[in-house]
Amino acid sequence: MEKKNEIIKEDEQSAGISRMDFLKGVAIAALGGAALLTTKKYTTSPDVKAFEGKKKRYGMLIDLRKCVGCESCTIACKSENNVTVDSSGMNARRIFWNHLVYTEEGGEHPAIHARPQPCNHCENPPCIKACPVGATYEDESRGVVLINYDNCIGCRMCTVYCPYSRRYFNWEKPHFPHVERLDEKGMTASAGGFNPSVQVRTKGVTEKCTFCIHRIIAAEERAKKEWREVRDGEIQPACTATCIGGTRTFGDLNDPGSKISRLVKENKDKIMRLEEHLGTEPKVFFIKENI
C-alpha cells in the first residue's frame, strides 16, 4: 500500500493544473490513476485526424493474485451486453463472453484457482481467417476483434478455430426471462432491462466479447467533444469497472505510459498469456497467482 501511495504522489505532481481542471476534488486520484494525469488538453481546435489515425492496441491485464472467483465480471458482462439466458439446461449452450475457468486441486491441500477468460483479441486472430464471409474482422484502429452480426451466416467455423473457445453460437432465439412480456397482441415485447447501447443477437449467429466496444467509442466521442485525447483509465469495459477484487486493468498497449503497459513491464516475470506457443499473440495478459 505504501508503494501505491508513492506512485500516486508522483503522478499528482506531474499532473499539474490540467488535471485539476478536469476533476476538481475527485481526489480519488489514485485509481484511475496515473494515466488520468498525463492527459493532454487541447487549447485550440484539435486536429481530430491526428489522433483518429493514431493506432490504439487495446489490451487487458488480469491480476490473478487478486481474483476471488466471484463471477461479478461474468454477470456484469451478461447485463452490459444483453447476453441471452440459456433455457436448454445444457452447460455447453450457455453463453459467457467472459467466463471463469476453474481448476481444482484435490488431495491433502485442496484449492481452487479461478481464471477469468474474455476474448483474447489476438494480434493474429485465427477466427478471422476462418470466417468465410468476412463477418469477423479486426477494428484496426483499436486492435479489437469484432463480429458484424448482420453478415454472420452461422457456419460456426470461427467457434472451431478459436483455440480458447471464446466464441458462442446462438442455438436458439435469445431468451431474457426478466424482460419478456406479451403485449396486447400476444406478441413478445420488452419492458426494460436491456442495455440499449448493445445490439441483441439473433438465433443462428456467433457472438463474443467486444472489449465493450460501445464504451470505447463512447469515451472516444466524449474526448473528441472535449477536444482532448482519451485518458488512460477512462475506458472501462463492464468487467473491469465492476471487478470487486481490483483485478483488471484495461488500456492502450501502444502507449508505453499507460497503466497496463507499465504493469506488464513491471511484472514481466509473472506475466503469462494463454497458449502462447500457437502464435496468436493474445492481448489479454495475466499476472500469475503467488503459489
Binding site: M1, C70, V85, E184, A189, G192, P196, S197
Partner: protein, 1128 residues
C-alpha cells in the same frame, strides 16, 4: 425396498417450456403497461449516438441509490433511459463502490463518467426489478392455506377485512363459519397515559419477589385498573391475572425480513408507537443475532448514575454498538472464523479489494478457519478445517498459549481507566483488571463500593482493581487520574458487615479457565493439530496491533454463539488492537437519521410523534428486556408464570428484535399467550430460512394457530404462500428510504439512501387522499388511516406537518442526515445546476412516488438543497482520508472494552436453572438441559455434522430464484461431502441422496398442501471439506417464488422450475428435545443452532417417485457443475 442409483434421465425431467408467458394482470409478466417502451427508447438512442452523444454520460440519466442484493448497502447507480431501467453500476461516490471513493463534493457531471464496483448480485438487480413473477395486485386466499389458490381484490377491501375482521373466508371449505378477529379488536389499549401507568406498574410487579408478594401485587394491579379514571381497563389485557403479558395489542405480531433501517424506524414508529404492540420480531436470530450480541457484551459501558454496565439504545448515557471488525486495508495477519469475505458477509464488494491488495503486495497473511474450503479459504495462506461449532476451543487454545508465553500487550493490559489509556497513547482499555466477587456458585458481579462500606457521593461508579497487590478503587471513565493495575490478582477483602469476600481479577478468571484444560485437550476438542495452533497464536502476536481475529455469522450460528463471539473479542483484546490502523475497529458509523440530536430539525420517532404509545409486557419470544444489554425486566424469574426449572419454553437474553424462530411456535402454543394476527413483512420467510422451517410451516398452515396472517412480498414466496392476504411490495429499486451503515467493517461514516429509480410496477392505492404504490409503507399508512392510529394523516407529525404520504417520513430523515450530528456538520447546499440535474433525473417518475413540491415541503425549504445533495449522490459519505488518523482509525471507539460481562453472569439458564459464566467460556452445542447434543445424536446413529453457508451468488430476499444469469453459473447446490467419506459409504458424485436426523428421521419436507418430498438432492464429493462434515448451502430449493404453478382468478400461472432447483436443507435441522419445535438456541443472543448430526442415504425408489411428483425442479439441471468449489 430396492435401492437404486440414479442420476435422473432426460425422460423424467419436466420439460421447461421456453416461454412460459401468462396473462394474469396480477403479476408483472402479464401486464401490458410496460411493453415495448424500449423499442421507442432504442430509436431515440440510435439517433443520439448518431449525433455523437452518449446519453449515459449525462448525470440526468442516472439515479444514485442503494443496492439490496445483500445487506451491505452498496452505493449504486441506475442508468435510466426513457423511463426504463437499462443497467445498474457501482457508484464511485460510496466507499463500497470504489477504493478509495470519490470526494463527496465531486460534481455529478464528473462522476457520471465513471462506474464503480458491483458484485454479481448487484448486477442482477435488474432481474429482480423486471421479474415476471412480481405481484402487482393484492391477492386474497381462495383455498386452504398453502394451496396456492388466489383471487385479486381491491386494496381497500383487503385493508378493511384485516382491520375489521369477520367471517372472511366463507368460500373456503372448513372456514365457512370461522370468525377472524381484526386489528381493530386487537388495538385494545389506545390511551397513551393509561399505557404508561400500566407499564410502570407492570415493571414494579415484575421486580416484586415471587410468592405471596407477587400475588398481592397482581391483585393490587387488578383493583387499580378495574376502575381507573372511571373506566375498567382490565378488558384491554390479554389476561388480567397476568398483567405482565401486557395488553391485547401484543397479540398482533410483526415479522420482518430484509427491512433495513429507514423502514425499520418507520415500522417501529407505526407498530410500537402507533399500534402499541411489543411483538416486533426481526430476523436477527437466524442471521447475526448472537454475533452482534457477542460484540455488544464487549462494548458495554458504565452508566455513571447507577454504576451499571449497559449497551442500550436510549437514555442519557446511550451506548448502542454491537459490531466490531477488522481494518482490512492495513492489517498484516487476519484470521477469519467462518467468515466468507469474498462471498458473503456485508458484501464482498468492498472487502475483496482491501484484502486482495494485501495478498498481491505481500502485506497480508490470511487464515481461514472453516470446516469447509470456501473461495475465501482457497485464497488464504492457510485453511484450518475446524470441527463445526468448536471455534471457542481453538480460541481458548490460543488464549492459553498467549498467556503462557506472555505474548500479550502488557502495556495495554495494565491500563484500568481512560486516563491510563491516554497516558499510554491508547484510546481504549479493558475491564479485565476489575475485581470480581465470588458467589457460592462462582464468580459474580464486580466488587463495588457498597460491598465494602457506606456509599458516598461519587462512589457509585467505582469498581476495584489490584495495584501491586493492594486493592484500590477506580472509575472506568476517569480521564484525570490514571490507574495502572495488576492483570492477574486473587485475594480477599472485608465486607462492610465483616464478612470475607473472595475476589479475582477478570484476567485471573480467564487465565484459570484457559489452564483448566491442557493445550492438547483444547486442540483435540476443535480437531486442529497443536503445531497449527501454535503457529496461529505466534503469528497473531507477531504483528503488533496489525492483526485481528474476525468472524461473521460462522462462529455465532450455534447454541453458544454469543459467548463464542465474545471469546473472539477476548482474543483480540490480548493484543490491544482496538482503534489501531490494521487492527480492530468500531466502524465508521452513520449520521443520526432519526433526528434525536437537539439541533436536528425532525425528531421523527419522538417529538414528531404526537400521542405515541409505549408498549409493554412479556414479548412472545420472551427476551429478558427490550431496553438493551444490562437490563433484566421480563425474565422468567420475574414473570407471573415462573414455575421452576426447566421452564416450559426457552427464555432469552435482552434484545430489541425478538427471537425469530421462537415467536411463531410460542404464539401457536400460547406460551405465554396466543398469537392472533401475524404480519410477514418485507419478504420475510421463516418457513424457508429457519432451522425450524418445517414447524413454522405447520403453524402457518393452521388457521387455528395463526388466525389472521397477511404478508407483503414481491413474489409469492415460501412463507407468503401461506398467508390470507398478500400485498405486493415495491422493489428496492422503487422504494424510498434513508438508512445507516449496517456493519463495522467499513471505516467511513455513511448513510446510504434508497430512492425510486423507475415507476413502480405495482398498482397504486389511495391513502389519505394520496396516490402511492402498494407497498409495506402504503399498508402501514392505510391501516393507520382505517384505525386512526396516533401520529398519521393531517398533522401527523404535529400541527401543520402532515403525514399523508410515506415519503414525507424519509425526506424529513434525509434532512436530519443533511444537517449532521452537530452544528456545522452539514452537507453543502446543492447548486442551481445540481437542482436542475435532480429535476431532470427524476422527471420520469410518477407523482405517486415523486413530487418535487411534496418532497421539498416535507424536507423543509431551508434543508431542501442539502437533501438534493444527498439524493444526487445516493447518500452521505465521509471522505476517504477521514477514515484514518495517523496510526489509528479515524472513527474511534475510545471507550472501555469488556472481557467480563455482568450481563451474562446474571443470566440464569431457563432450562438448567444455573447461572451463566461472566467470561467467554467454551461450550459444545447444548440442548435446553445442558447436554452435548451432537455427541448424543452421534450415538443414536447419525454420523455426519451438517453445516450450511452462503455462496457468492446467493442473495437476501430469496432473490436468487429470479437471478437467471447467476443461475447459469450456479444452477443448483449439492449435498457436499468429503470424497473419502463418500467412498466409505459407497456414494459417488451425482447420486440422489437424502438427509435425515433425529428430529426428522424420515428426512421429509411436508409443505402441508399435499406436497411431501425428501430433503436432499445430488451429492457432490470434494476434498475441500472436513471429513465427517456435510455442507449444503442456502438460497436453493425454492418451493414457491415462481418455481411452481399457482392459480390466480382461476387462471393457472405456470411456474418456471429452473427457479426451484437445488436443495433447501432446513427440513432436517435439529430441534431442541424439550420443546421440539425450535432448534437449540443461544440462551443469551437467541441464535438458533445450525450444526445437526445427520445420516446421508441413497434415495429409494419411493423417495425418487415422491421427488419427481412433488419437487420435479430438483431434476431440472441435467449436468452437474464441474467443480464444487467454483460454485456451490
Amino acid at each position: 425396498m430396492k435401492k437404486i442409483r440414479q442420476t435422473p434421465n432426460e425422460a423424467s425431467i419436466t420439460t421447461v417450456s421456453r416461454r412460459q408467458f401468462f396473462k394474469s394482470a396480477a403479476l408483472l409478466g402479464g401486464s401490458v403497461l410496460l411493453c415495448d417502451k424500449l423499442a421507442f427508447a432504442q430509436k431515440e438512442l440510435d439517433a443520439a449516438y448518431a449525433r455523437g452523444e452518449n446519453p449515459f454520460a449525462d448525470p440526468a440519466s442516472i439515479i444514485h441509490t442503494t443496492c439490496m442484493g445483500c445487506h451491505a448497502h452498496c452505493d449504486i447507480k441506475a442508468k435510466i433511459y426513457q423511463g426504463v431501467l437499462v443497467k445498474l453500476e457501482g457508484s464511485p461516490y460510496g466507499p463500497n463502490g470504489k477504493l478509495p471513493h470519490f470526494h463527496y463534493n465531486t460534481h455529478p457531471k464528473d462522476e457520471a463518467l465513471y462506474d464503480g464496483k458491483m458484485c454479481l448480485k448487484g448486477q442482477s438487480g435488474i432481474q429482480v426489478q423486471y421479474d415476471p413473477y412480481r405481484i402487482t395486485k393484492v391477492l386474497k386466499r381462495a383455498g386452504k392455506r398453502g394451496e396456492n389458490l388466489w383471487k385479486t381484490i381491491e386494496f381497500n377491501q383487503a385493508v378493511t377485512e384485516i382491520c375489521e375482521g369477520g367471517v372472511l373466508f366463507k368460500d373456503v371449505p372448513g372456514e365457512e363459519n370461522r370468525k377472524v378477529e381484526g386489528l381493530r379488536d386487537l388495538w385494545a389499549l389506545r390511551d397513551r397515559q393509561v399505557m404508561e401507568e400500566m407499564s410502570k406498574d407492570v415493571m414494579t410487579l415484575l421486580h416484586t419477589p415471587q410468592g405471596e408478594e407477587k400475588k398481592k401485587a397482581v391483585e393490587a394491579f387488578k383493583t387499580k385498573f378495574s376502575d381507573y379514571k372511571g373506566k375498567n381497563y382490565l378488558n384491554t389485557l390479554i389476561d388480567p391475572d397476568h398483567p405482565d403479558f401486557g395488553p391485547r395489542n401484543n397479540q398482533f405480531v410483526w415479522y420482518g425480513g430484509r427491512v433495513q433501517y429507514g423502514r425499520e424506524a418507520f415500522y417501529l414508529r407505526w407498530f410500537e408507537g402507533g399500534f402499541g404492540s411489543i411483538n416486533w420480531v426481526n430476523h436477527c436470530t437466524v442471521c447475526g443475532g448472537s454475533q452482534r450480541c457477542g460484540h455488544a457484551e464487549y462494548a458495554m459501558q458504565q452508566n455513571p448514575e447507577d454504576g451499571q454496565f449497559r449497551n442500550e439504545g436510549g437514555g442519557k448515557y446511550k451506548v448502542d454498538h454491537c459490531y466490531f471488525s477488522t481494518d482490512f486495508l492495513h492489517t498484516e495477519f487476519l484470521m477469519l472464523f467462518g467468515h466468507l469475505i469474498f462471498e458473503a458477509n456485508y458484501g464482498p464488494t468492498h472487502l475483496a479489494e482491501r484484502v486482495t491488495e494485501g495478498l498481491a503486495s505481500g502485506r497480508l497473511t490470511l487464515v481461514s478457519v472453516d470446516p469447509r474450503l470456501s473461495k475465501t479459504g482457497s485464497k488464504s495462506h492457510k485453511w484450518v478445517p475446524i470441527k463445526p461449532a468448536t471455534d471457542g476451543a481453538l480460541i481458548w487454545a490460543m488464549i492459553r498459549w498467549i498467556l503462557e508465553n506472555e505474548r500479550y500487550d502488557k502495556k495495554f493490559m495494565s491500563n484500568a481507566n481512560k486516563a491510563a489509556a491516554i497516558a499510554d497513547k491508547e484510546t481504549c482499555w479493558s475491564n479485565g483488571n476489575y475485581l470480581v466477587k465470588y458467589k457460592d456458585d462462582g464468580p459474580g458481579d464486580f466488587l463495588r463500593a457498597k460491598d465494602i462500606g457506606a456509599v458516598q457521593e461519587g462512589d457509585i461508579a467505582k469498581v476495584y482493581v489490584a495495584q501491586d497487590g493492594k486493592i484500590i478503587p477506580v472509575i472506568p471513565d476517569d480521564v484525570t487520574n490514571a490507574v495502572d493495575a495488576d492483570m492477574f490478582f486473587q485475594g480477599e477483602i472485608q465486607s462492610k458487615d465483616g464478612k470475607t469476600i473472595r475476589v479475582k481479577s477478570a484476567w485471573q478468571l480467564i487465565k484459570e479457565y484457559a489452564f483448566s484444560k491442557t493445550f492438547e485437550e483444547w486442540a483435540s476438542i476443535c480437531g486442529i493439530e497443536t503445531e497449527t495452533i501454535t503457529w496461529l497464536a505466534k503469528e497473531f502476536t507477531s504483528h503488533g496491533k496489525k492483526a485481528a481475529a474476525d468472524s461473521h455469522r460462522g462462529t455465532a450460528s450455534n447454541a453458544w454463539g454469543t459467548m463464542t463471539t465474545f471469546s473472539l473479542n477476548t482474543l483480540n483484546t490480548l493484543i490491544g488492537n482496538i482503534d489501531w490502523k490494521g487492527g480492530w475497529q468500531k466502524g465508521g458509523g452513520s449520521w443520526d437519521f432519526k433526528g434525536t440530536k437537539d439541533h436536528q430539525p425532525y425528531s421523527v420517532m419522538a417529538k414528531l410523534h404526537p400521542g405515541s404509545l409505549k408498549p409493554f409486557g412479556i414479548p412472545l419470544s420472551k427476551q429478558c428486556s427490550v431496553r438493551g444489554l444490562g437490563h433484566r425486566d421480563t425474565t422468567y424469574e420475574n414473570s407471573t408464570i415462573f414455575a421452576g426449572y426447566p421452564a416450559k419454553r426457552p427464555w432469552y437474553g435482552p434484545s430489541k428484535w425478538g427471537v425469530y424462530q421462537e415467536a411463531i411456535p410460542a404464539g401457536a402454543e400460547g406460551y405465554p399467550y396466543k398469537l392472533k394476527a401475524l404480519w410477514l413483512a418485507c419478504w420475510t420467510t421463516p418457513a424457508a430460512a429457519n432451522g425450524n422451517a418445517q414447524k413454522i410451516i405447520e403453524a402457518l398452515a393452521d388457521v387455528n394457530k395463526m388466525p389472521l396472517l397477511f404478508a407483503n412480498d414481491i413474489v409469492i414466496g415460501e412463507s407468503s404462500m401461506y398467508a390470507d392476504y398478500i400485498f405486493p411490495d415495491v422493489s428496492y429499486l422503487e422504494e424510498l428510504q434513508t438508512s445507516k451503515w449496517p456493519s463495522s467493517n467499513m471505516p467511513h461514516k455513511a448513510n446510504p439512501l434508497r430512492q425510486p429509480t423507475v415507476a413502480p410496477v405495482v398498482d397504486n392505492c389511495k391513502v389519505y387522499g394520496q396516490e402511492m404504490p402498494i407497498s409495506v409503507d402504503a399498508v402501514k399508512m392505510a391501516i393507520a388511516e382505517k384505525l386512526g392510529l396516533p401520529g398519521y394523516g393531517p398533522d401527523g407529525f404535529g400541527p401543520g406537518q402532515n403525514f399523508t404520504h410515506y415519503d414525507q417520513f424519509y425526506l424529513k430523515s434525509a434532512a436530519d442526515i443533511g444537517v449532521g450530528d452537530k452544528p456545522g456538520d452539514d452537507v453543502p447546499d446543492a447548486s442551481d445546476e445540481e437542482i436542475e440535474i435532480f429535476k431532470k433525473a427524476h422527471a420520469h417518475l410518477p407523482k405517486s412516488v415523486y413530487d418535487y413540491d411534496r418532497w421539498r415541503e416535507a424536507a423543509g425549504e431551508q434543508y431542501w438543497r442539502k437533501v438534493v445533495t444527498i439524493f444526487n449522490r445516493g447518500g452521505r459519505f465521509q471522505d476517504f482520508e477521514k477514515g484514518y488518523d495517523g496510526d489509528k482509525m479515524g472513527n474511534k471507539w475510545a471507550k472501555m472494552v469488556n472481557v467480563y460481562s455482568e450481563d451474562c453472569e446474571r443470566t440464569i439458564h431457563p432450562g438448567t436453572g444455573k447461572r451463566l459464566p461472566g467470561i467467554a467460556e467454551y461450550r459444545p452445542v447444548m440442548d435446553f438441559f445442558g447436554n452435548d447434543l451432537l455427541a448424543i445424536d452421534e450415538k443414536a446413529g447419525y454420523p455426519y455434522t451438517f453445516i450450511t453457508y452462503k455462496v457468492v451468488g446467493g442473495a437476501n430476499f430469496r432473490g436468487t430464484a429470479a437471478y437467471y444469469w447467476i443461475r447459469e453459473t450456479l444452477p443448483e447446490n449439492y449435498v457436499v461431502m468429503h470424497i473419502e467419506d463418500a467412498e466409505k459409504d459407497g456414494l459417488k458424485d451425482g447420486d440422489m441422496v437424502k438427509l435425515s436426523s433425529v428430529s426428522n428421521p424420515e428426512g421429509m419436507w411436508d409443505l402441508k398442501n399435499g406436497r411431501k418430498y425428501p430433503c436432499g438432492g445430488k451429492l457432490k464429493t470434494t476434498s475441500g471439506i472436513r471429513k465427517g462434515v456435510i455442507g449444503v448451502s442456502y438460497h436453493y430449493g425454492h418451493w414457491a417464488y415462481g418455481s411452481t404453478n399457482v392459480k390466480i382468478d382461476g387462471e393457472v400461472i405456470p411456474g418456471d422450475p429452473r427457479r426451484g432447483s437445488g436443495i433447501n436443507p432446513n427440513g432436517i435441522r435439529r430441534m431442541d428435545p424439550h420443546v421440539k419445535d425450535v432448534p437449540p438456541s443461544d440462551p443469551i443472543g437467541g441464535q438458533e443452532s445450525v450444526p445437526t448430526k445427520v445420516k446421508v442415504t441413497l434415495m429409494t425408489e419411493e423417495d425418487l417417485a415422491l421427488m419427481h411428483k412433488h419437487n420435479p425442479a430438483a431434476f431440472i439441471t441435467k449436468e452437474m457443475t464441474k467443480t464444487y468449489l467454483g460454485g456451490v
